[in-house]
């Protein structure tokens, strides 16, 4: 460094500069660094560079940075705290490279440190904010999961002779959808069931879902006629949920009455996708419930009723539109645009409640991220074992 300009720059540069042996022993440090650290300019010579770092930084240097430099890698903007002569920590960014001799052996380290107090303070805030966000997200997930569980039956307890299976797919683990279902006893020979989907998502939808769930269970005890049960539900929703915007819900409510070896089924639908029937003989069809209106939309909605008998080996499946509306990944196509669900049903009939729920589970898995909404499935089937 014969050029006086270079020599002056070395010592008065706005950053700390160090030349060191490959093992980290300092050969020369510039005046800026010596001043920052409170040392006489020559006092840093022969000290190990890592001795200028805090214990944590020293470990990182000795286990990561030093070996990497030795193997010829550069360091760029590594975060370290450098200790002054009186032990004060100075937040720094460290940049370093290695100069090799003609035999490709490391000859010396060239290290530059710059003051990073402001940036580091900002990064610490950033880190705290990220941790806080992670905690909050965790809380939201627990909250959503708890709420979701509260809106679904803990376990299904079907009557003798009936198999029941359910599946609930959660599209988002930090939000609550409006899907709901249940199966419950009304008398010694009669059972009620329902499955529906409240418009919207989140807390508003959860409030309406909870109201519908408990109203339906009470209304089911009060009235025998499924259409009347939905009428009562509609009245309650219209009275109770005035200030929630998306307060309507599609729903299928039905009643099972044990007769002979099977069950008489009466269902009423309020604008919900029709249940599927899988017959013991191997055919499949939709229950004719098309045309009803969702509950909560108008004061006097029109609901559609249907009656049929479930014979041994017959299975009925209720589902929400998370399944039928799942994106296939082909343009804007939805899974059931071309009648895929009925074809799926026909290819799996006859079936059992647990087998068809398993198949739907697999189908949803195949659709992957195309399933954009929560999906609930409830299947009820009459056991073949009771046939004899």
């Amino acid at each position: 460094m014969s050029d006086p300009g270079i020599e002056d720059f070395w010592d008065s540069a706005p950053s700390g500069h160090v030349i060191a042996h490959p093992d980290g022993r300092i050969i020369r440090a510039n005046a800026t660094l010596a001043r920052w650290l409170g040392y006489e300019p020559d006092a840093l010579c022969e000290m190990a560079f890592s001795d200028l770092l805090t214990a944590g930084g020293r470990i990182l240097y000795d286990t990561h940075f030093g070996p990497l430099l030795h193997l010829g890698r550069d360091l760029n903007g590594v975060t370290v705290d450098v200790l002054t002569a009186d032990g004060t920590r100075l937040p720094m960014f460290l940049t370093a490279n290695v100069k090799h001799n003609s035999a490709h052996r490391p000859e010396r380290l060239q290290i530059t440190v710059v003051d990073a107090a402001n940036r580091r303070a900002y990064e610490v805030e950033l880190l705290a904010a990220r941790k806080q966000a992670e905690v909050e997200q965790g809380r939201v997930k627990v909250f959503a999961e708890t709420l979701r569980r509260a809106l679904l039956p803990p376990m299904l307890s079907p009557p003798d002779g009936l198999d029941a299976a359910d599946y609930f797919f959660t599209a988002s683990d930090d939000d609550v959808g409006g899907d709901f279902y249940d199966l419950f006893p009304l008398s010694r020979t009669t059972w009620g069931f329902f499955l529906g989907d409240v418009a919207g998502k989140g807390v508003d939808a959860a409030v309406v879902t909870a109201l519908i769930r408990y109203t339906l269970r009470a209304a089911a005890v009060f009235d025998d006629d499924p259409v009347q049960v939905l009428d009562n539900l509609n009245t309650v929703i219209n009275q109770e949920v005035r200030d929630v915007r998306n307060r309507f819900s599609t729903v299928v409510y039905g009643k099972l009455t044990k007769r002979d070896n099977g069950f008489d089924v009466e269902v009423a639908s309020g604008g919900h996708p029709p249940p599927l029937l899988f017959h013991a003989g191997g055919s499949a069809n939709y229950v004719d419930t098309v045309g009803g209106q969702a509950v909560g939309l108008t004061a006097e909605p029109h609901f559609v009723a249907s009656r049929f008998h479930l014979h041994p080996g017959d299975t009925m499946m209720l589902y929400t539109d998370g399944l039928t509306e799942a994106s296939t990944g082909i343009g804007t196509e939805r899974y059931d645009d071309e009648g895929a669900l009925l074809r799926f049903a026909k290819s799996h009939a006859p079936t059992t409640a647990s087998a068809i729920v398993e198949e739907v589970h697999r189908l949803l898995g195949g659709l992957g991220s195309g399933v954009e909404d929560d999906t609930a499935v409830l299947a009820l089937g009459v056991s073949r074992a009771k046939e004899a």
């Binding site: 490959p22 890592s50 030093g66 070996p67 550069d74 590594v78 990064e123």
Partner: protein, 265 residues
């Protein structure tokens, strides 16, 4: 069966008696490169990445298992079993010296000798024992790690390996060289620096060589002497080297010490 080769990104080079080289905290099997160059003509060298480090299979990560050194030691035993290795000379650097000690105490059958490279059975001072660090120092390390992770998971890994004069090499190594998942490194750091395996030293039954550096801030000479004194019949070699990684800073001397000990009958 677990595919240990994929799990640990296992590399095998050379021919001869088997030496298993296991990296410590920081980086991965790449740190052995200069030693490998010197040993592969005389030995079969097995190189691995511990789960959580380097190019190990991220799916194998288990925060509970790898929160203690016994989790890593169990993997070592699975590796020697799966590869059907015999008469293995285990060479462990830094924390992996203790991982090797635990593995060979658990089941010494496939091992012949143990080389502890800059080992420390306990990094934290405890009454008369001087490990070199206080608990506060280790907390400072964990914080330093965390601060570097702000950029580490994204920015630092690519730049730390920057080799502007050899861009092809950079591409080749871009995703692997010493790149560790921040969360995994944190767990490994805790397991490394908060473990106390002093009581295990006397349970080592294999012929053991302790290699230390003349100046090592992480495993100071008192610690090397402590290990030597507590492992029955062990040999101690002090290399004239500064730092914690003599296999990088003094590869010829390190390779020679390993080679001579591995050959000795």
């Amino acid at each position: 069966m677990v595919d240990v080769c994929a799990r640990h990104n296992i590399t095998v080079v050379g021919n001869g008696p088997t030496i298993l080289l296991v990296h410590g905290f920081g980086c991965d099997q790449n740190l052995w490169r200069l030693v490998v160059d010197r040993l592969q003509s005389d030995f079969r060298l097995i190189l691995i990445d511990l789960v959580g480090s380097g190019s190990s299979d991220p799916r194998a990560w288990d925060a509970n298992k790898y929160a203690s050194l016994s989790g890593y030691a169990a993997d070592i035993l699975e590796i020697v079993d799966a590869l059907d290795l015999r008469d293995v000379v285990f060479v462990g650097h830094s924390v992996s010296a203790m991982i090797g000690a635990l593995a060979t105490i658990e089941d010494p059958r496939r091992f012949a000798k143990l080389v502890l490279l800059t080992p420390s059975p306990c990094y934290i001072d405890d009454r008369d024992y001087r490990g070199g660090f206080s608990r506060a120092d280790i907390d400072d390390l964990l914080e330093s790690l965390e601060q570097n992770f702000l950029g580490w998971s994204r920015a630092m890994a690519p730049v730390i390996m920057g080799t502007p004069d050899r861009p092809a090499l950079q591409d080749e190594l871009a995703d692997t060289f010493c790149r560790n998942d921040p969360e995994h490194a944190r767990v490994f750091a805790r397991a490394t620096f908060l473990s106390d395996n002093r009581a295990d030293l006397s349970r080592i039954s294999l012929p053991t060589l302790v290699i230390e550096c003349s100046s090592d801030a992480i495993a100071p000479r008192e610690v090397g002497a402590y290990v030597h004194a507590h492992v029955d019949g062990s040999e101690l070699i002090t290399l004239d080297a500064i730092g914690h990684c003599p296999h990088v800073s003094a590869p010829a001397e390190t390779a020679e010490a390993i080679s001579a000990f591995a050959r000795a009958t």
